[in-house]
Assembly symmetry: D2
Homo-oligomer: 350 residues x 4
């Protein structure tokens, strides 16, 4: 295996990548993004349910001609990087195995997203590899860039947390979040492939409805991270006192819009609000501050997050749009990987 | 003209109806509903932009074979009822003319929805017929049934107010509304026919975005009515202290879902909440209390409103779904007309 | 059991109906249409997969509050009519059982659609009740009205054959069909509930593709019926020499459009063509001849078939639109049942 | 102005490009593709209706930060290449002006697509620059690669002709086309921006209908080119005897599927058919022969054309899918430009 303790050199060989679980929507897109990346080489793709098929037959839109293998057939010594697109619970042992062989890993599951093991286990059940939690870094580059660059295991955030935390981080850092309502709207691909009747065309078209109106697993992920951001901004007691998160399903394949209604700890004017966001995001390559509310289409199939903050009715509204499969999953994994490998953060992300 | 001061008798002649402005989405549907109504007769339909065309050519799905006339060609003596589907401002003079000739009128515009003339003029500009405001009754049958039955001019509510007020009325009556966020999602037909590029298929499909995030004209209508309901419940000071209303456009032709996030004045448990809603709506023919969050499809092309109240995170969430063209406009007009004519409220509404 | 050998009298009791298989899209709609029918009584609904649930919980949009039973729990003596919405093969024994108890039956499956047993078995495999084939009448009322009125078992046509045969019957009767290409576009509900990944929203939205481009089972049904119509028109040798049928899936929930490209046996002008269609369909309550090509929306949730015939490029184009769940399945079943019971054919079909 | 009589050198400066008419769907996408192209520089974008706005404000999904100018403000000496995205008729004078200043031009309009001036004028009316017709090359690279590489004016094909001609060219070259029916399905963006009520979301969703069922302007373009291909294959008399082309609008924003039903001049088996297509397209970077019918999604936002040929019912069916805005317009323009500039044909096309 190549030595990846140092960044690959600008002129050097491509880093060889294994995508485990390339049959689902997020894994397949990750494979495609690696395939077309100038500094990465897609060496192996695995996926039990469709092993033996070529990825561009399974997803004719993608150009990856590789054949899906079973994970057990894979020789980890042939690659330097693993991207894991398994369901939570199933991901942890695969990540552990890869880390044991020295691979850099980006994990798209929830398994290493939480700082707090109890919070993880409350939401997802027992954790099979708790020892790896400490070394894992939460992969939101706009907030954790330096730590990601040093990390060997990055936990890619959930799609709702990505959009929500990017929407609220400037307010959290300033200690302004008192009470937050997040009304989220998500495209159907967020439910994954094989969703059954609940994601059938006939169920979804011409329809919008809330689901899991209380207890969605992304809520504690959002709450933990906003608390940590507030603490890091020197506002340890300024975690939101109340946070409500209600996701809705909309007839869109890819896309996510979160509408955040914030009661601030003190009155904030539009000018101050704009300055806060400009300071936080003015130089970010993948965040765009908008003068009008963004739509899902504006970020479709990009790694962009568009953010619109507004003072209204003595409250702060922040609308934030991402593509749930791109910035909410697979392209953000590439952004993280670029950082881990010392590449330009935007490489291969258009 | 027939004497309509008394309800038409069960066996009697059909009431003759004029639909003015039958070329837009709401007017055309109102015409169709009158056409298929067992106790109404569709006598005249008007619409300048398509005068001379038959309605079932303009809207091939509808079965109304009548030809659209210009309003000026119409003899008001031939009808007993006028349904007006004009834009605000343009509606008032037509309503005044009809009332002057003794017609019962249901007006689908905003012109007679406000109790307060200043509030109307702040949102919509000068009012040409302020003298008619006093006699107009707000046409939300579930709350104003008795007054509607006596009314000669009914102001049909806006689609957002219908869904929102029905969602929140039980809480308003109990004086529980302290702080309200309404995140509304609307199908595109709410923008009316001829919306231009903003409602083009290419703009809307695979997209969701907020619009008019502050200052939407339905917000003061909602605020006024919730205040009146609170007052009528003996809670004069219990109007919501803060009300935020943010509408979103979703890729759906007909349908509306409002998600109401309420901070109550005191803690409320799920049992008490369910009892409040059951007491308010248990016998309503067009309201269904749901155990799971309703979807727009569940009420599509019906006069139904489905309501789902939930205690979560020390807050109350109420999801409420209607068809914006039906219960949010045209079928609610028929429901009002049934009451005004002394007919069964559900007549002709399937 | 009531005597149904005679039509029910206009003032008489409602006919009691059992819908077997009311959990699928077509069965559930049939149940809803019976429920709202002024001369039918929905007595029992069955469906194994959801037995014990109420239909208006399974399909919140429908108003049927009855609880689904297992077929085995059902007492056939309590009903006069059975509507069977089972898959082909599974339907035949249920139909036989019902006929054995004297019920009038409308079967929505393919099991009794073919005159020719070999043609059926070639397309669908062995038939368990071939003895019932002779007495079954093909339920296309516009062509078989008199025989349906006398029938005790009606085989409801497939959705593609309904749209295609209505498009082509006037040409078949005149012996004009030489070579026919049918390019069909269907909404997704035609694939039934539980279609899996192939009918998932993510698969279907922003997509159109052909499927089963040769060998679709509706092709021999279309071919047999067009041949019989040609023969009945005194054109025994005038069955189409060649018939190609290619179905396409479009991102629509309900709706079907067939585009028929006909090479006629002799040159036909537009005037003659229009006269042929006017003669055939001028008085039909559920067929509308259009001057412009019809769209699926024009017939959505109606029992209508809109037909547009055009001479172009020395060929005849006929576009024909239906709602695949209504005229292509459930509402046509009601139309057939109205005829069988001696009711007005349009009763309960708005 | 740079000398563009010779291809730009692999290491040389980027070619400077003007996109005229960058406010429409095709022009805006062309600008975006130039912007992200490694060997092209987007120097100027023009568009009267939105002059003064930045393109990434007009189309927030695109990353082009340039401000739209009026064409009159533009200095043609600053660029080497013009891409013209004007309506037919309006394009010709702009093309003439650019050619007069020595620019290489790719024109997306119909103005230079026809070899025959009378055929053009029959379909589109008088031509203002007939003198340029002779030098213009039809920009279908898979068929005209060598001539395009030498051309200074390339007429980019229409979207329907692109999909149809690529579907049928192998049969045309072999002189096999006797009778052709083309049933085309197109996404709505093909109608351009500002389509009005006909392309409104409410009109399009849950709908499919034919439009211009005879006389569509792309039919003579298809007919002329298939005739020329047949002639070039030594089959001068083998142009199709009859060609019917019927376009349908489907609820898709971008995408096009054509279903071609061919009566061949002699019987052809599946093996021969597959060999014909493999010989024609086996090495094409942007054509993929499919074993199953392709869907629009498979080629969405790519320059690919997926083709599926099948022998069925003594006929040949060819299904062909493109993205109408990409391979049917803007990305094909880039493919042509790559050839004209001596670059790798796939450069900048992912």
């Amino acid at each position: 295996m190549a030595d990846v303790s140092q960044p690959i050199s600008p002129e050097g060989a491509k880093a060889r990548v294994l995508v485990a679980g390339a049959t689902g929507y997020a894994g397949a897109l990750a494979a495609q993004l690696v395939w077309s990346h100038p500094r990465l080489e897609l060496s192996v793709i695995t996926g039990r349910s469709d092993a033996g098929r070529r990825l561009n037959d399974l997803y004719p839109r993608y150009s990856v001609p590789l054949t899906l293998k079973e994970l057990e057939e894979t020789d980890f010594d042939e690659v330097e990087v693993g991207i894991v697109a398994y369901p939570h619970g199933a991901a942890a042992p695969v990540v552990a195995q890869m880390r044991g062989r020295g691979l850099l890993v980006v994990d798209l599951s929830a398994d290493f997203r939480f700082d707090s093991l109890p919070d993880y286990e409350k939401a997802y059940g027992p954790h099979s590899e708790p020892g790896l939690l400490d070394g894992a870094v939460y992969g939101l580059p706009e907030l954790e860039r330096a730590r990601i660059a040093e990390a060997e295991l990055v936990a890619n955030p959930g799609c709702y947390p990505t959009a929500t935390i990017l929407a609220l981080a400037p307010l959290a850092q300033a200690g302004l979040l008192e009470d937050v309502v997040v009304d989220a709207k998500s495209g159907v691909s967020g439910a994954g492939r094989g969703g059954g009747e609940g994601t059938a065309f006939v169920t979804i078209t011409e329809n919008v409805n809330a689901y899991k109106p209380s207890g969605h697993r992304h809520r504690p992920e959002i709450a933990e991270k906003l608390g940590l951001i507030a603490a890091s901004g020197g506002n340890a007691e300024a975690a939101p006192e109340r946070l409500t998160f209600v996701p809705h399903l909309v007839p869109v394949d890819q896309g996510e819009l979160v509408s955040c209604y914030v009661t601030p700890r003190r009155q904030v004017g539009q000018v101050e609000l704009d300055e806060l966001y400009a300071a936080a995001y003015g130089d970010e390559p993948f965040i765009r501050l908008r003068e009008l509310p963004p739509g899902m289409r504006d970020v479709r199939e990009t790694n962009q997050c568009h953010v619109f903050p507004l003072v209204t009715d003595d409250r702060i509204l922040v609308e934030s749009a991402i593509d749930n499969l791109w910035k909410g999953a697979s392209s953000q994994a590439i952004q993280n990987l670029n950082l881990m490998l010392g590449l330009d953060e935007t490489e291969g992300l258009g």
